[in-house]
Amino acid sequence: MNFEIILHAGLATGTILLFAGIGEIFAERAGILNLGVEGMMLLGAMAGFSISLTTQNVWLGLVVAILAGGILSLAHGLVTIHFQADQVVSGLSLTFLGTGLALVFGKGLTGQTPPLIPSFDIPGLAAIPFIGPVFFANHSLLVYVGYFFAPLAWYYINRTRPGMHLRAVGEKPSAADTMGVNVYRLRYFYVFVGGCLAGLAGATISLAVSPGWYSDQTTSGQGWIAIGLVIFAQWNPLKAALGGYLFGALRRGILDLQGPALLFGLANPLYINSNFSFFLKMTPYILTILALVLGSRAAIKKRLGAPAALGVPYIRGERGL
């Protein structure tokens, strides 16, 4: 067990959840619940990997991955914003659609090696003891982007004029509409932003953090963890980033626990029987299910600070307007 390695890996894999989670936060703060994160991520992972392979240009791959997630999310926008259908049903279908498309177009990609997003040390900072190797050494460019992205997202939502409009649209769309804010346009926009970030999260897996295409094992349910993370994070990008890193470190820590024969001087059950580790690997998913169950209770949701109009289609002129 080496904490340096666990934390380093936690920051790397946590970046995946950071992008996907903050994307979902944007959509949900605008009032649209998008359960299709897993599908958008997988499509982004496949598209990025495939384009990077065929064009030998990883940056083009990254852009296509982002757009793939974004364009897929517009289907959810059309169904839930324009046709005002149930957001849960539409989001679930989006996961099926995205997963299906990714698996079909991803046939034959397994085992290939496209150009990847570069990893590097930050000169100077990498030399700081402990902190350097954990935060600033041998990380993918996307991990460093993640460090800035979460605070920027927080600033945007809480301190800018467009961010205030975003909050208003998710909290009370009728009030925003009567003040001349275009509710439909903003909701489409933030669903798209959420999709783009899910696509980016997918590319973070396939082109950076754990490169390769392993069909649906590529994302292995991290889209769902991202949705649970949003509830843990109480719709706050900074907390989502911390939560993402924590989940990442947890995943890596579980792997490392199997290594030593003795744990704190006692026989390590995971070393003796590696089947026990399956239960440990379940923890993030169990926590996610717990978060989703708790988060679906109205009273708890209110206390956690969920956007008041989350999941409610906006129809102009209905009730009180």
């Binding site: 301190r159 800018t160 004029r161 467009p162 205030m164 409009h165 909050r167 208003a168 909290e171 009370k172 009728s174 009030a175 925003a176 509409d177 009567t178 003040m179 001349g180 804010v181 009273a299 209110k302 206390r303 008041a308 102009r316 002129g317 009730r319 009180g320 307007l321």
Partner: protein
């Protein structure tokens, strides 16, 4: 004012606004049928009509939320098109909606700045907005702190925020859609002072209401709508309440209620130190003590959301009572299930009639037997006796003159007034000993209101014990022998029919128990 054409906010006045020949159709309804309406600078023009008469539709057209099939809008004599709230704001038209259009977790300044570009785009310029809000608030005498979060404000304050919001946007014409619905009488008085000042300053105001007293207290002109058509346009000074009521309803209605003197009998319903909490664990009822006697109507007044609903539901068995006891005829009935309460002789008219009072996809006849469908004469074993059910329905339809195409009509196709009559008929037919009437006439037309009040008074004479829970002060005052006032889940005080003036009730409704006591002793000392 140095310049006659400018408002205190520094913006030009709207000299006149006209809506001509407005037609708006909804599936199956003609909501506005060639409606003409106009308002001038410096004038308060009332738009009067019952629920569904087309007032709100007309104003939503003016605010760009609906688009009319026919007709035009003219500003200072020139035609304008309004396709969205933004257009209407740009023309200087502001609207105070019936339900507050405020984002609860934003501050006053943030709410005001919504939809506007910031001077430091993309960053917010809330300090600039706050300064301007303070300036406007000073000019119009509106007490508002720009940095307070809306969720921490009282209802009266939120109303002032709505006005500031409209003024900030440069509203020269303000549409006020039932702005007094949730206010105490004192808050209404304060608000009217502000409205009069605004009119004097050159604003044009459209005041929507169905309360006749307010029309006479505030407005210069009245336009009355009925079934989507204009049935009268008169100067307020040249008309009276009865004439306006007739225009609203289309026939003679009585606005006064006959309360024959009845000597109350024994205590039927008793609440002893009843307390309850909601699902979040917040107290909603605190130490309620209440007695309702046979032949007596006890009114429960209060501003919406101060424990009225939990009180009704605690008695009806729908809200768990934490502490204390509920007694009916000295039997302990605390926390019995609703079915057991009905069998014990309780009748309940719930405030959410479509949600709790009827099953809207069931027929009229089926809704009449919601409680009794399991027992004779309506059922034998698992079989229903349709002949009995039909006869029972027909009898009640006739007795309570419920307007329905047939007894097989689905309840959702009835008007609000007729649904309320149906519920009343069903409950009274069960010959209860105690009735809880929660908001029995909310959203009900004047005609049906008159009927429902008459029925409640008739049952009072027959010895029924009635708990009347209503946010309509006039209703509570007209019917009740005693009035208790709820505030924050507590009873603030009790007044007899004679003592209950709007001033005293208003103070109790605002939670000012101590001041009430002072006035009390002052009155008695005199």
């Amino acid at each position: 004012m140095s310049n006659d054409n400018l408002l205190p906010s520094g913006l030009p006045r709207i000299e006149s606004l006209e809506m001509r020949g407005i037609v708006k159709k909804f599936p199956g309804v003609l909501a506005n049928d060639h409606v003409d309406f106009d308002v001038k600078a410096g004038e308060i023009h009332a738009l009067l009509g019952e629920n569904g008469a087309g007032k709100s539709t007309l104003m939503k057209i003016l605010y760009g939320l609906y688009h009319p099939e026919e007709g035009g809008i003219y500003l200072n004599g020139r035609p304008i098109t309004i396709n969205s709230p933004t257009d209407s704001l740009n023309h200087g038209i502001g609207m105070i909606h019936q339900h507050f259009m405020l984002v609860d977790n934003l501050t006053v300044a943030e709410n005001v700045a919504l939809g506007l570009k910031s001077s430091r785009e993309p960053r917010l310029d809330l300090d600039v907005v706050s300064a301007r809000v303070r300036e406007l608030a000073d000019k119009y005498g509106l007490r508002v702190d720009p940095d307070t979060v809306i969720s921490k404000m009282a209802v009266g304050e939120r109303q002032r925020v709505e006005i500031v919001k409209a003024l900030y946007r440069g509203a020269a014409l303000l549409v006020l859609d039932e702005p007094t619905a949730v206010l105490t009488p004192q808050e209404v008085d304060d608000l009217f002072v502000i409205f009069r000042q605004m009119a004097a300053d050159g604003h044009a105001l459209i005041f929507i209401s169905h309360k006749l007293d307010e029309i006479f207290a505030l407005t210069d002109r009245v336009t009355v709508l009925r079934d989507g058509r204009v049935t009268g346009a008169v100067l307020t000074s040249e008309t009276n309440k009865n004439k306006l009521a007739n225009m609203m309803v289309g026939r003679e209605v009585s606005l006064t209620r006959e309360r024959p003197s009845v000597t109350p009998g024994k205590a039927r319903l008793k609440l002893e130190n009843v307390s309850a909490v909601n699902e979040d664990g917040q107290p909603v009822l605190i130490n309620i003590n209440l007695v309702v006697r046979s032949g007596e109507i006890v009114g429960v007044a209060g501003v919406s959301g101060n424990g009225q609903r939990p009180l009704a539901e605690a008695i009806a068995g729908l809200q768990r009572v934490g502490n204390g006891r509920v007694l009916m005829d000295d039997q302990d009935v605390t926390n019995l299930a609703p079915a057991q309460m009905f069998d014990a002789g309780l009748a309940y008219i719930p405030e959410e009639r479509m949600h709790d009072g009827v099953i809207k996809d069931f027929s009229v006849a089926e809704n009449f037997i919601l409680q009794d469908h399991v027992r004779p004469p309506f059922a034998k074993g698992i079989f229903l006796n349709f002949k009995q059910i039909a006869a029972h329905a027909q009898e009640l339809i006739n007795a309570f003159s419920i307007k329905t195409p047939s007894r097989e009509t689905l309840v959702k196709n009835l008007s609000g007034g007729n649904i309320q009559k149906l519920i009343l008929a069903r409950e009274l037919a069960r010959q209860p000993r105690v009735i809880i009437a929660a908001q029995p006439t909310r959203g009900v037309d004047i005609g049906a209101t008159e009927y429902i009040h008459a029925q409640l008074l008739k049952q009072r004479s027959a010895g029924l014990a009635t708990l009347l829970i209503s946010e309509d002060l006039d209703e509570v005052k007209a019917l009740s022998d005693r009035i208790v006032v709820l505030f924050g889940g507590e009873i603030m005080g009790e007044l007899s029919h004679e003592e209950a003036t709007p001033e005293k009730l208003g103070l109790l409704m605002a939670g000012e128990r101590e001041i009430e006591k002072m006035i009390y002793t002052f009155d008695k000392g005199r």
